[in-house]
């Protein structure tokens, strides 16, 4: 399951560096069989919505047993919504966050530690190295920075 999360994060290389996708902590740790449903929350403008939805389609085609439920917002109100979801213990499995806010969510145990995933480092090849600096901030690595373009071979603009 967590592996699945990581792979999805790998596919969502759309957002500018410095924005991060974090994985929610509450999801089950085993079982990759059977249909899996993951909620994904991000903020952005229209171009990011279009591109991210496209990537979700691509991801679903190659992983038909994983259902991605897209929730998206504009910038305004995004972290209001996140705060309410956190209070309701209903944080999405994968969500966009910026690095300043990671400690805040990490301290409350809302974000999973990616180093708990087997062979995490090996799977990380090709990712922006920012993820390695995170332990110095929060003591663990909880998010994947998003690199784009090079990885996917199409230009995303700054969306």
């Amino acid at each position: 399951m967590k592996r699945v999360v990581l792979i999805l994060a790998a596919c969502l290389l759309l957002m500018p560096a410095g924005l991060l996708l974090a994985t929610g902590a509450k999801e089950p740790t085993t079982t990759t069989e059977g249909p899996v449903q993951l909620r994904l929350l991000w903020w952005g403008g229209q171009s990011r919505h279009d591109k991210t939805l496209k990537v979700i389609d691509m991801f679903q085609q190659s992983n038909p047993n994983i259902k991605i439920e897209a929730e998206y917002l504009g910038w305004s109100g995004y972290f209001d919504r996140m705060a309410v979801l956190a209070a309701a213990e209903d944080v999405p499995d994968i969500f966009q966050i910026n690095i300043e806010r990671i400690p805040q969510y990490d301290q409350r145990g809302l974000i999973a530690n990616l180093y708990d995933i087997k062979d995490f480092n090996a799977k990380l090849i090709g990712f922006y190295r920012l993820v390695y600096y995170l332990p110095s901030i929060v003591g663990s690595s909880v998010a994947i920075a998003l690199v784009w373009r090079e990885f996917f071979g199409f230009s995303c603009g700054s969306g």
Partner: protein, 88 residues
Amino acid sequence: MFATLLLPFEIKMIYWRWNDFIQPLLYLAKPKLYTVSVALRLFADPTSVTNWGAMFAIATVSLVPVILVFLFLQRHIVEGISSTGLKG
């Protein structure tokens, strides 16, 4: 009498609900269900790119129901104001 008093309030309620941002933001999870106030913000992201053209286009369109409500119900609004409250 009640209708005169309540109708302006109900009309205002329509406007409040139409303009409400924070409640739909908190309660509506599916983008398909977003109300216009939340959906309008989908175009705007000050941290990257805002699609101003589309945003203002939809903002203009979203005014239509507001104007229609006013055009058809303005008699009640005026009545409510003139039959209650302070008159100069």
